[in-house]
Symmetry: C2
Subunit: 209 residues, 2 copies
Amino acid sequence: MSGRREEILDAALDIADEHGLEAVSMRALADRVGVTPMALYRHVKDKSALLDGMIGRLLTALLPARTPEDQTWEERLGALGHACREVTRRHPWAAHLLFSRPAVTPDAVRAVDIVYTALIDAGVPESQVPRLERLVSTFVIGFAASEASGRFSPGTLDPRSRRGQLPDEELPGHRRLAPYLDLPVDLTAEFEADLEDIRALIRAAAGRP
Amino acid sequence: MSGRREEILDAALDIADEHGLEAVSMRALADRVGVTPMALYRHVKDKSALLDGMIGRLLTALLPARTPEDQTWEERLGALGHACREVTRRHPWAAHLLFSRPAVTPDAVRAVDIVYTALIDAGVPESQVPRLERLVSTFVIGFAASEASGRFSPGTLDPRSRRGQLPDEELPGHRRLAPYLDLPVDLTAEFEADLEDIRALIRAAAGRP
DNA sequence: GCTCATGGGTCTACAGTGTAGACGTATACG
DNA sequence: CGTATACGTCTACACTGTAGACCCATGAGC
């Protein structure tokens, strides 16, 4: 009931957005809410429960208000994927939490269901649907987490110097691809291309019963 | 040089394996090494540098001693994927670190190069290779991280009660798939099937220049 | 042989963390 | 009225990472 809990979670979201997840301490959060640290424990069991609550709120924002019936399964999958990436772009700290906290909240289950129905509509054999749902969600969350935590853009090191740590003969692939490795990457376009490849993978799975 | 640093990193690995990553504190580590906490700082700049060093040591173990020439690209990709999953099964705490620390160590670059050459050998257009490398590694690391952190096996909640939080009409996908959702999953077989789907995705990319 | 730098280690101290436990108070209901 | 319940405060404890000063053994150069 009492919106106090939501108020607390939102304050925690604000702190994380402004100063990063590690700045979310019970004391800082309490300050923000205008209360003593121990008062938070009336509304939140634990610090880990606090984190759960935070991603819970994000998941709610991620879901479409109403599942639109007039979209193809391709569009619905793409929309959910982009929504997920959008959330982690807005809240980079959230990315790796999505991996550690299993999908047990109602909203998370709802998201899984959207993927299930999309795969069913695509014609995937029912026995394969759970596996492909895990495949798709793993990739989407993984992409978002990689982007948010900088795995895709390794710091300030440019490709040349990164490669330079090793003798060139040991890295035949890098040598061959040198012209492409120095280009900047458009991660939005890349994500779209990846999604299209995944859709093709799904179509292939639908084609072999 | 002095192998003291390696000794420290290995002690840290042991602690993480035995009691989880959160048990790796400077004090606990110092105890294990038989030294004062501050002594560690002679060999390791930071706690975060310590973590970097730990995953560095794991990555070394992940790589094949010598890239075998007599394997198809499919086999090489599969071997690397399984090695990655094996590492995170042995050291579950390492999974999410793989996401947060970019691939800048020599061994990490070497691993990337193995994927590059596999994709080139598969006939993927060179302009597409970097993107597909990111796709493949994102999925593999994502799978490993999901498995290690329990995202694939949501706690003790069985599927029925998980689903029970919401009215059945809101979860048409879950209702349709009910018979399959209660089955136990063999994640090893699933990973293999996923890898095969990814290989097919690569072949498709190779087929359209 | 004496000096001096250097690598490795110790001790103390500080500011920060999550949270258990006891205590207070204000509102709502019998 | 009394009493339960929800909410909040205060204190205290056992941790955390790490800055700063100090110590001592080794080996190189004069």
